[in-house]
Symmetry: C2
Subunit: 404 residues, 2 copies
Amino acid sequence: MALTVMSEHSLPQIPGIRLASVPAKIKNWERDDLLLVALDEGARVSATFTQNAFCAAPVTVAKEHIKSGTVRALLVNAGNANAATGERGIADARACCEAVATALNIQPSQVLPFSTGVIGEHLPLQRILDGIPQAAEQLRADGWDAAARAIMTTDTKPKTASRTIEVAGEQIRIAGIAKGAGMIQPNMATMLAYVATDAAIAQPLLDTLVQEAVAASFNRISIDGDTSTNDACVLIASGATGQAVDGQSEDFARLKQAIIDVHIELAQAIVKDGEGATKFVTVQVTGAASIQEALRVAFEVGESPLVKTALYASDPNWGRLVMAVGNAGIDGLDAGKVNIFLDDVQVVQDGGRAGSYTEEQGESVFSKPEFTITVDLGRGECQEHIWTCDFSHDYVTINAEYRT
Amino acid sequence: MALTVMSEHSLPQIPGIRLASVPAKIKNWERDDLLLVALDEGARVSATFTQNAFCAAPVTVAKEHIKSGTVRALLVNAGNANAATGERGIADARACCEAVATALNIQPSQVLPFSTGVIGEHLPLQRILDGIPQAAEQLRADGWDAAARAIMTTDTKPKTASRTIEVAGEQIRIAGIAKGAGMIQPNMATMLAYVATDAAIAQPLLDTLVQEAVAASFNRISIDGDTSTNDACVLIASGATGQAVDGQSEDFARLKQAIIDVHIELAQAIVKDGEGATKFVTVQVTGAASIQEALRVAFEVGESPLVKTALYASDPNWGRLVMAVGNAGIDGLDAGKVNIFLDDVQVVQDGGRAGSYTEEQGESVFSKPEFTITVDLGRGECQEHIWTCDFSHDYVTINAEYRT
């Protein structure tokens, strides 16, 4: 039932990075569910993590280990989040890192662990420990596509994106994979994303870049600071190709844009594969007094269950749009200055139904698989946008039956 | 599919108040959808209204008219919200008030109009104007039960509550009716409630009382300040029985509690009749550092779609409870001090799965039609509770097909 995600293309190899996916039977399924990523010496890694107060054990350990500054491996398991698992959860995550360190002959503090899946159950540790040496033997540069599949949970499709650009006469590659599908309230779905390039980027530049890229992508489908127990986005610069790029150069600006574009493509793929999603909708807010209020209105509209069920029904129930805008808590909002468009069709003019609007026009937009809702607040020059999806019967089915 | 709402009992007559419900064909249906309430001279009326920036035309007019201090009539229509209808919507609401004033020989400013239903469509004004004189002729003291049915929209059952108490040797009656059924995000459902007593209560006391009663009832199923375009709660003291009650007396304390109890019973009935609801759940938060943070956590848990779908599935997926608690944005929350109980069953101890907990215990609670989730934050002495319901397939069906 999910929307077609952009055609699954083969990701490029990123010199300096090898991957392996193996079946560790973390759940009772037949599929790869354990991913090992090995980085050659010299790679730089930066990441953003969940701000949930119950952050999962692997997040606690990964935050600690990334401070080493010399990350050499990532380990990701699907099927079990190792969250709300107390001291034993932390010990389990450390045990995983130790096993990876032994297999790759590095230090445990050079390993970042990640988990996604059911919360509150202990990892099937022995099966993971058994899988790690097996994965270490199978590391390969062309393991990206298999990796995208290994980290899936309720995702119906692997999510990948890539770019290749020329910088100073050399080809630079960017590859990214992501998972995460709970979309009615995106802050509750675990989102994991791994983006890597073979460019050489200095650590401070990389740290800023991952923040900027996440702000422009994954934070447009979720609320800042309101995240699942396990969310993480990791950006890797292997440095295997070319000289370090000067942060002030035009080359860096192009590289940065390409990296952000990969993040946006992955974020949009997550929305399109939203649990039960049948529509991909951009909510654009213009005429706002501030960026902050534009985002607030966009999220109020894009996350309203009443709006999302109307999207599912292809029912241009614009009264629900108006109600959501009114609920955003914007001080002094003048309803009489609000205009709303469905693609090019004006549905609300000066706070009421537009004179030119017909139900048929609205239906023709709402029945499209992709469209844009634009809300003009008529009070300033700022604009922002987010991406959302509709809310269908399948969402309830998927989430009511998740653990069975 | 909705839960059984407390048995529909006949409401007592309230001296000084007469009601009539008539079919005005506001939608293409065969039922009463227009309610007229007439108050004898001397009645006191107080109300709380929506804080949505797009407040509906009747709300704008009612807020203006209630300032007259001598309200003599209420007019409520179901099926059309007269919201986002611009200047014409305001004119329509005023025309309704004028028609009531003519029929009852009072001033238009003594009439409060209310509407609930689809947003963004103009009222079928002529049909309402035709219905008003008809209703005025049928006013009767025992019209409460019919009134509760006339104001329904997606409600599956009328919602009523009443109390009779003795004050200074005299019987005082309290009757209440309410409507409102959208429960996944209660702030988006129009909630209307009308509670009346024949006691004599001075205006300042009544004004305070309606605020207190709403805070203890309807605001426990919704977020303060985040309301639909049409929400209103009206408290009427006809004063037809007995002397004015002294606000400092024990009698007033008992009267006040009875009035608050009627509000709570109505609020709970709304939750139990939540769209597609099959479970009624109290979310209690204890050990909080403040009332505000207790409510914040309670709403985060009670409104999480992932928690609500787990309730529907009778799946004690307590990881989702933990995730929701962690998402409440409580500064400095120590996850290791959080304990969670499902009725008497401890499921989370010190932030992890309780040693004594078994899945069977959790299932036996989650499969009940009514139970309590208690979250102890372990950081203070404050506690608060809210009421919520589960989130089922029927919710999507009802909301996707609302306008068809």
